[in-house]
Assembly symmetry: C2
Homo-oligomer: 373 residues x 2
Amino acid sequence: MTSRIPAQVGMALAEVETPALLIDLDALERNVDCLASDLASSDVRVRTHAKTHKCPAIARLQIAAGAVGVCCQTVGEAEIMAYGGIDDVLVTNVVVDPAKILRLAALARLCRVGVCVDDESNVNALDDAAERMGVGLQVLVEIDVGSEQCGIAPDDALSLGRTITECRRLRFGGLQAYHGRAQHLRTHQEREAAVKRAIDLVKRAAAILERGGIECETITGAGTGTYPIEVESRLYTEIQPGSYVFMDADYAKNRNRDGTAFDRFENSLFVWTTVVSRPTPDRAIVNAGNKTVSIDSGMPLVYGVPQATYVGAADEHGRLVLSPTDETLAVGEKVRLVPGHCDPTVNLFDWYVGYRGDRVECLWPIEARGASI
Amino acid sequence: MTSRIPAQVGMALAEVETPALLIDLDALERNVDCLASDLASSDVRVRTHAKTHKCPAIARLQIAAGAVGVCCQTVGEAEIMAYGGIDDVLVTNVVVDPAKILRLAALARLCRVGVCVDDESNVNALDDAAERMGVGLQVLVEIDVGSEQCGIAPDDALSLGRTITECRRLRFGGLQAYHGRAQHLRTHQEREAAVKRAIDLVKRAAAILERGGIECETITGAGTGTYPIEVESRLYTEIQPGSYVFMDADYAKNRNRDGTAFDRFENSLFVWTTVVSRPTPDRAIVNAGNKTVSIDSGMPLVYGVPQATYVGAADEHGRLVLSPTDETLAVGEKVRLVPGHCDPTVNLFDWYVGYRGDRVECLWPIEARGASI
């Protein structure tokens, strides 16, 4: 909330106070362009996921490169994207709280809004709110394709689809079929097997709906870890990659095992940190711990210093181990960490410090940080 | 940064949107009173750690109950505490960035400021900044008593202590000797053994300094998990508990193993969450995941619903497992989660929703959220 701006445009990167969340703008732009060129010869739409960056400035870059709109995970994120100028927002989640449903309907006065459902009573609540606000909402049925989070089984799709088509203000949009768990499986073979199971479930749901006279205009899902597989299926009409703009250490593990599968994207997101203590020859303490770099998917990597291993995160400190004869990483030295997991790391900061070469070029507010409600 | 206020004073708790960070004010006040009465017959000072709550309003309650001031982990936290009316702030950490050292010295124009050192060159940088600002700083030598973070070995204390006493603007205050790792050891025996090793190291450092003519006015450390042991030592002059105001699921594990050791404090901090999906009879999905409840020290507990187990956190979802015959936790129902780890969970929210009974009584800004710089 107290948003001390961590840098000034034009200053040397070396002078930026730590910890700070850095974006290598050249790498970010290459990632955005790379996804666009990857999909250029396909008729699959790209709807980038804004839960990763939580920043309308980045969403606008993605849309300029061809994305049709953004995905969000919360109504709060959707509001911030809409207020930031994005005119097509899909909440890839169910929305249950009555206050949130009303906010979602109100937002549809400003831009195109879609949302997911996996429960009959929720459909009626959405329709009532849309009627009250005088708006239309696009509604997707969420299918559980293997993540064991929200979502119905394919056989239940027709009943839910019919309920939607009978509503006054809701338009049945199709299926939300995102396999979150598959994104982080280690090998291409494992990811392909998981997505193929998902594809079978989606086909089943779509066929059941079609027999009931309901067409799926949109079948959407897929993330950075699997989207080439969904695109190849010719079943998905839309993909939802988020992490590709930044990448992280967890995705890097897959790159190392897979060879080519993840080579197309680069690390563009870093936590800038200072060595604050060198208590022993083989230990360096940096000022980036658990409150500035999320460790839910593993420890960060020390970028460009392969001999240093980040082995433990206290709340405000990270502990690096290095060879006792190594003379790098003196007290006061600054290094970049590649976060273990990009999304929750972004959610710890209020500002991105965008740099090109060795100079700060922009400060982008992470406007949807903490927008969990 | 976008701080949608999550509730209104006077509203029913049941109406508060989720996820929200709740404080049971009765429980919080009992925790504050309990620590005060625990120390009432002792001459050990209490300096509560503000890294836990990051909120001047709570710091003021602690000081009203007898705390001499607060600890902070960052200069940003210290600034916010000072601006919030706290007049005695100790940064229990080394401060290395030149810009931060200058901010720390500037803060000493407003209130009493202390800081830790573990490096000779850092002492001189602090003295130069204090001279430039025309202020005095209290400086403690940080001893590594077992956490393997920052801190020197006891035998190096005299050299560093002498450097401090020779400065123009620095006053040698004593020793910072906090054993972070010992707080979370599972049994009283393990914690006691760890703290006794710490005490031996502190005695050694203090004796070396004394032989060199330097007296340790303050020996400070200890947290919620161990402070009765440090108090009993009659060596520590000050303790730094933070988590006791809130407690969490990790501390609860120790309570369950120890019987009485942690019974004195109650859970007062909760993440308020809604069941958004019941895809199968044995699965409930809540809207509190990794971005609203920190899992670095284990999963949260579902308060008052012992048959439900929070088994996995996605970024925006939590997955609960319960018996297939259990009919609790319908879609739309709200429950309280006890966070696995209080400090990093607090760092995800901008507001506390304080309630008493079933009504919201206050909204306290978490002013130092994200104040990592």
